[in-house]
């Protein structure tokens, strides 16, 4: 995986020339970083224990590595309609092959009837989308479609409650980098959608304005909470972790609480407990709830 000079065209070579030595130095500085796939796996808690510790330690020490992992999670598209339909067909085929002989015969066709209907619909929709898509454009990334309420939460220790909408004092004077636009006006569509409980729109709008306001903790915080309501716990963790890095006193406890909620929903109660223990020792409005929830998670 080495960039050879002949992989660069002339224009790229000209643009790189003034900083070529610095780029080489940067590359040398990071030559011993853990491989990218290990960094990402460590961030997801998906490495075996003996490998997790050194990679996670490296990740914790390096803002560069963390930024790369976060950005990549932001950039990667999810499954498009065609892939979802293909995957569903594959699950269906595998389930058919592995169905135990003793399984009730009537149940299987009944169970898969709506699934097949969905797969057929997905294929048709895909055909239409493919015909309409502009060449070279990425397929749209759509969040999980079913409202959270349909499958959410009575068994989670940490309940998912909608937070009050608030802004930091800085928000009133914050302006977009390079555009001079007003922050409160720019986030109004996202905030209005969030207030109305339209989390898909809210998540989309917060993600849209995020690059314009990299210092605004409100955006990754409400983006993370929106993703929680969309059942996207890993996405919520990514956003809330970003919020945690920049949050001041206005939001730090809120961010910590919802990050714990996200960790539990992502199947990582240990991470949830760690966050709750810290909240429990503080004096925020979440302290009592966090102590109680941490104790119940341990139980």
């Amino acid at each position: 995986m080495t960039t050879q000079p002949d992989d660069w065209d002339r224009h790229e070579g000209e643009l790189v020339a003034p900083v070529r030595a610095e780029l080489e130095a940067l590359r040398a500085r990071h030559r011993h970083d853990p491989p990218l796939e290990l960094l990402r796996a460590a961030d997801a808690g998906a490495l075996p224990d003996d490998l997790h510790d050194p990679v996670a330690a490296s990740l914790a020490q390096s803002a560069w590595q963390r930024q790369l992992v976060e950005d990549l999670a932001e950039v990667e598209p999810g499954l498009d309609e065609a892939a979802r339909a293909r995957l569903l067909a594959r699950i269906q085929a595998e389930a058919g092959r592995s169905a135990p002989a003793s399984a009730p015969v009537r149940r299987f066709p009944y169970f898969w009837r709506p699934v097949l209907a969905f797969a057929a619909t997905a294929v048709i929709v895909t055909a239409v989308v493919v015909r309409m898509r502009v060449p070279g454009q990425q397929p749209p990334v759509t969040p999980a479609g079913t409202p959270a309420a349909a499958v959410d939460a009575p068994h989670y220790v940490l309940t998912l409650d909608k937070p009050d909408v608030k802004l930091t004092a800085k928000a009133l004077v914050r302006r977009s980098t390079g555009r001079g636009a007003n922050f409160v006006d720019d986030i109004a569509p996202a905030m209005n959608a969030f207030r109305a409980g339209d989390y898909a729109t809210a998540a989309r709008e917060f993600a849209r304005v995020a690059p314009q306001y990299p210092e605004a903790e409100e955006i990754p915080y409400y983006l993370g909470v929106s993703r929680l309501f969309l059942n996207d716990a890993p996405g919520a963790i990514a956003a809330l972790t970003s919020a945690q890095k920049i949050a001041d006193d206005t939001f730090s406890a809120d961010v910590a609480w919802y990050l714990a909620v996200a960790h539990e929903r992502a199947g990582d109660p240990t991470a949830a407990r760690t966050g709750l223990d810290a909240l429990c020792q503080g004096s925020s409005a979440y302290a009592a709830r966090a102590c109680d929830a941490a104790a119940r998670l341990k139980g």
Binding site: E12, R29, A41, R84, P211
Partner: protein
């Protein structure tokens, strides 16, 4: 679990995204996603939907750990010196991390190209972008670098 289709639609995207982070490979991430939902199907009488998607993510996480064990990456990584150079963060690194005009997609392409040393095709494979998009994002990032890095006196 008669609402399997709704469960699938509700969670497949987040399960796949998590799998992609966990193993860093699209085809393998699809495999793990399929295996997790298949496991859910097989145990549909035992699993309460209110435990989703955490249960699915746990299945993926465990399968990803098995994958990494099989890869025997421990030895490969252990052979490397993993310490970061302790000198002060270079100006160019600070610019890449802090430039407000550099969106995640531009920064990712820049990091993968010039620090990870990937070809455009490898970046496209890693990010899910097309090679033409990668080229465009790199060009934007480099032009922004030329315009602002020297002008802002970060060097």
């Amino acid at each position: 679990m008669a609402e399997f289709d709704a469960v699938y639609r509700a969670h497949v995207q987040s399960v796949y995204r998590f799998a992609l982070r966990a193993v860093g490979n699209r085809a393998l991430a699809e495999d793990l996603t399929a295996e997790a939902f298949l496991e859910l199907y097989r145990r549909r009488d035992e699993i309460d939907v209110s435990r989703l998607p955490a249960w699915l993510l746990t299945v993926v996480r465990n399968k990803a750990r098995d994958h990494w064990r099989r890869q025997q990456v421990e030895r490969r990584y252990a052979e490397q010196e993993a310490e970061l150079d302790p000198v002060e963060t270079p100006a160019l690194e600070r610019w890449v991390l802090e430039s407000a005009d550099l969106k995640p997609v531009h920064r990712t392409c820049l990091m993968l190209r010039y620090v990870q040393g990937m070809t455009r095709a490898e970046i496209a494979e890693t990010t899910g972008l097309t090679e033409i998009q990668v080229k465009g994002h790199l060009q934007y990032a480099l032009e922004l670098l030329r315009r602002t890095y020297f002008k802002d006196g970060m060097r």
